[in-house]
Structure formats: C-alpha cells, structure tokens
Amino acid sequence: MIHMGRFDMSRNLGRGGVAVAVVALSLVPSGVLAATAYVSNEKGNTITVIDTDKQVVTATIAVGHRPRGIVFSRDMKQLYICASDDDTIEVLDLATQKIVTNLPSGPDPELLLLDPNKPLLYVANEDDNMVTVIDLPSSTAVQQVPVGVEPEGLGISPDSKTLVNTSETTNMAHFIDTTTWEVKDNVLVDARPRFAVFTKDAKEVWVSAEVGGTVSVIDTGTHKVIKRITFDIPGVNKELIQAVGINLSADGKYAFVALGPSNRVVVIDQKTHEIIKYLLVGQRVWHMAFTPDEKQLYTTNGVSNDVSVIDIADLKVTKSIPVGREPWGVVIKP
C-alpha cells in the first residue's frame, strides 16, 4: 500500500553534494539608484534577481539545494543563503554572482538572522532543534543553543542582548540571553510559530503562528502575550489563514503579515494592533521585504511562483513578477 522499506541511510539522507554552478542568464548593470531584490526559490535551487525600479528579473543564479532563508552581509556585498538540503550556508558574492564560500550551519538551516551590532549570524536548524551562532570573521560555529522542536523564527533585540527563537512543534518563543547563550524564558504561543520580530523600540516581539492563524504580541518586559491578533477574511475558509512572515515598517505605522494559503497580506496598525486591510497577493504567501525607501513591499508567493509588489502609500497590490519554482525568502538592497 505504501512504500516503507528500510533504506541505506548513507545514500538517502546524505545530502552533502553542493551545487555551486552559477548561471547568470543576463547581467544587466544596475543603475546606482536602483534597488535590487533577491528571491530564494525553494524548489528551483536558484536565486532570482529583480531590478525593483524597472520591476523586471535581471538574473537567475543557480545555488545549492532548497534555498530558503537569505540575508545580506552587513556591507551588502554578499548574500548568505540557507541551502537547507545541503546542510550549509552558501555565501554568494553579489558582484560576480558566484558562490565564494560556505559557512558551517548545522543540519537543515532554514532561517537566518544577522546581528545588528556584532559580527554574528544566527541560524535556526530545523532538523536538529538547535540555534547555531556563527562568528563571521572566523567562519566558525561558536555556539549551539538547544531549543524546541523545529526551530524557525529568529528575532534579535536592537541592543543585541536578547535573541528570540520560535519552535514550530513546541509552540514557544524562546528568549535567549546572548551573553550566556542560555534560554531565559519560554512563552507559549499558538500552534506552529514561524516568525519573530522585535519592534524598533524593543518593547514588543511579534510572533506569527501558522496553524494557529494568529499573531501574538509579546511584551519584552513581562514576557506576557499582550495581544493575540486573529484574522477573519470574508469568504475565506478559516483553515486557510496561516500567518507566516511579518514586516514592521520603520516609521512604526504598519505591520504586514503574510497569511499563507489565504493568499492575503494583512495590514495592521503597529501601535493599536487593529487590522486595517487585507490585500490579495499571489498564492501561498511566505515572506516579504521592503524596498530601501519603504515605498514598496515585495512578497514571495510559494504556489504561484511569483512575487507581488505592494504599494505602501496606497496599500494596493500593483504588480506580480514571475520568479523561480516555489519562492520562499526575499531581501532587497539599495
């Protein structure tokens, strides 16, 4: 009825082979003012490069297997890529569009976060129930912090003192002290928490729950959930409303939350926590990124294989751009 044989672990689970071939479809020199978006395509094993001024794809770069979380280096010259199925983090040089080195990530890296003050990179190892801390100058893993089952979301306080990690099957936000690397507190949230982000004033951490379909706002002083934001989209089945990525606008005005297979991004008032609007985007929306001027928000749509562009001033979806297979993460640099 179902194939269930024992298999050779070394062959079936060994995922050491790393594809490093780079295929630049077209190398368009980007203008000085143009911003560039990079989209990881989970099942395409590629990074799509988009000129956000012209809103066109300028290159597709072949990378390792199952690229998901991506983040820029602080000098914006490199892109760190979680190649989840290769158990590594690839470092892409953005000028040459070539993979230049790999970082030791621990198994199945899914999401990455760059420390705002220290040369540290945080990685959630989904298969291993660990958060790995990588020292960038030495390219070594300096800490592994045991957390709950299937760690994913990572948020860092503006002063770098507290790292928050969410674990999808344990359903907790773990507050990690970055001096001792100990888990100081665990806050229960709704089912399958996927993303965590601190507000700019460091007073709140917002955590999305995919299966719960909610966002919990946690007070960083008391570690209590002060608001549980729920969603109700007319005509959309409740079960399809699955909260994933969260982006908070720097001016403190809006929070955008990607609501997965409901194909909506919700706009929330960051201060009052009230819902302003639901925006229809592509299918199964995962993650988002602002353009540097915060005039636009790009969303990755995992099922429709495109990104949607949201105009922030009008709160309207203005464009969809086809990318690779199953787009997952997106980052944008000037």
Binding site: M1, I2, M4, D108, S167, E210, E239
Partner: protein, 376 residues
Amino acid sequence: MKRPTPPPGSQVVNIAYLTQEADLPPARSNVQPHPNDEGKLGADLGIDDDNTTGVFTKQDFKLEAVTVPVKGDVVAAFKKLIADGQKFIILNLPAASVLQLADLPEAKDAMIFNAGAPDDRLRNADCRANVFHTSANRAMLADALAQYLIKKKWTRWLLVSGSDEGDKLYADAIKRAAKKFGAKIVDEKAWTYTGEQMRRSAESEIPVLTQGPDYQVLIAADEADNFGDDLMYRTWDPRLVAGTQGLVAADWHPAFDMWGASQMQHRFQKLSGRYMTPKDFAAWVAVRAVGEAATRTKSTDFNTIRSFVLGPDFTVGVFKGVGANFRDWDRQLREPILLAAPYTVVSVSPQQEFIHPVSTLDTLGYDKPETSCKFK
C-alpha cells in the same frame, strides 16, 4: 542519536504503548516489506518531541512499550500496565482487542488511544468514551478519495474486493462514499484467486475480470496487499487504479513534504532508519496529544490533561496546514487526509469544492448528524 532529556526533578508523564505481533503473510513485493515495529517507533519520536519541549517546561515523558507475542495474552498485558499506574495507553491492535480492553473495569479511568484499528464501528455503535482514535477510519479514507475522484469527474467506478474482513469493510466504506458524494459503482467483482495462482496468471485473468463494465476508475479493496498491485496495467481497458493500491488515501505517507512534514520525516528517519508509515504517525499523534495538553495546561495531572484534550482549546499540529483535534461525538481525530501514489502526494482532502457549515474536515468520515455513537 542523542535523545532529549528533561532535567532531573522534572514531573513525569507516563505513556504506555501496547501491540501484539501478527502472523503476517509474506510481502507480495520485494520493495515493500512489512516493518515489525510500525507504530512503536512513531511513539518513540513523539516522546522525543514531547521531551524537547519538556526540557523547558520540566516535564519528562516516558514510554513503556509492550509487544505481546502472536498467541500471547493481551488482556493480561493491559491489566499489568494499569497495575503499573499507566493511564495514557496507546493501542496498536485490531478492533476486537481494542473493544475488549476498553470494556475492562480496569480501563474505566484510562485514556486509550486507538492507533491501529480503522474500523468504522469503533466510531459508531461500538464507540467508547475512554477511546480516542488517532488512526483514520475507513470512512474518512474512502471519503477523501471519493472527493478527489469526483472533483476530477471520474465518477464511474468498478469495485474489486478481496475476501478478507477488512476488504469487505473497506468496500462498504467506498460504497458509502459513492452514495454520499454522488459517484456510481457500475459493477462489483469479487477477487477469488489465491496469490500463488495469480503470480502465474495475473496477466491473463485480470483482463477477463475487468472486461465489460463502462467505468473510469477501478477501486481496489485489498487491505493486505494481496492483489491490488497486480490490477495496475492489466485491466482490459486502460483504466486508473485507486483505493487500497494505486492512488491511496492515508493519514501519512513517506513522500509527504508539505507544511513542515519534511522535518518530521527527517526526524523519523534519523531515529528509525526507515520511512514513516500511517501507524507510526497515529502513535506519534497520540503521544503528542498528551504532550501538547501537558504543555498548554502546565500540568502532568491525568484529569487536567484529559479535560484539556476534550475541550475546545485543544489542537495539535500534524503538519497538514491545520491543527488536529478530536470530534466530540466519537473522539475521532479530525484531520486532512493525503492522497498518494507510491512516490508522490497527489492531493490533500478535504477538497475545497466540498463545503460544510462548520468545518470542511467534517466532510470526511462520520459527521455529527450521521454518527450512531452514544457514549454511556
């Protein structure tokens, strides 16, 4: 591999797992052996997942797993578990044994998880207030398949049933699903050949058996894998096979990788060295249900956990995009069902075209108005 260990002084939650060895027929296909530890390894992984959380909540989940030999005494083994103080007991046993154990006076205050018997009667006339079903029942599986076939407008079915009791019950579930969703069973054929005869003559017998009826999909009712795989590519007309072989409905499948299922598959493979099966999944869900309730209530007390699992706030993530919980009218796990071919998941039911006033998940199996379950 290193298994998570909650710190000393943690509060202990004991969970038991009971199964009995079965006299399995030899596997029909070399690529499809029957693992003899199905279920148990799912419970082991559930314990690890619970304890990874337990490290933070100071709750220590322990599993006592008992396998009774083929001719051994299941009742005695169950009574011993109760005497040892076990109250959360996962059973991977046939329906008759589940009923026998659930009706023992010793079982009155236990929370039994049926993680092995798909029988619809356990969710209807033979339901019990102390039995929670984490395995999908045949009606859920048949309904999940029916919804997909009807969505595809493949509504004329030829039903070929084996002679085992389970085959007949599966065929009944298929007939019920056809009636419920509007498909037509154009003809029914009984499979009467023995396996050995078939090895020699499948190619010549199956065209004869399937010649005549005007159907679109051949539905196989062969739970023990005696002949269903032989039907494929041997029918008189070029037709699809679904049911217990071909396109199957199941609550878990090794190829399933959506909604974080990849991580679950990887964890299971690391722990066990093989693929995860529906019985492993059903046992895992049972252990996780107890763990989830213990985490949420911050309690290891039996009654607190039991009440929470029965209450409106209970939900456990099962990697299917929506949380699972237990139907209050028959204690059946409410969850999506996968439709899979051997190497790929084709779809996940309920299909969105089938609507329901409360939860589309209740379009699968016995809904509240249909149930004949009355808890005493």
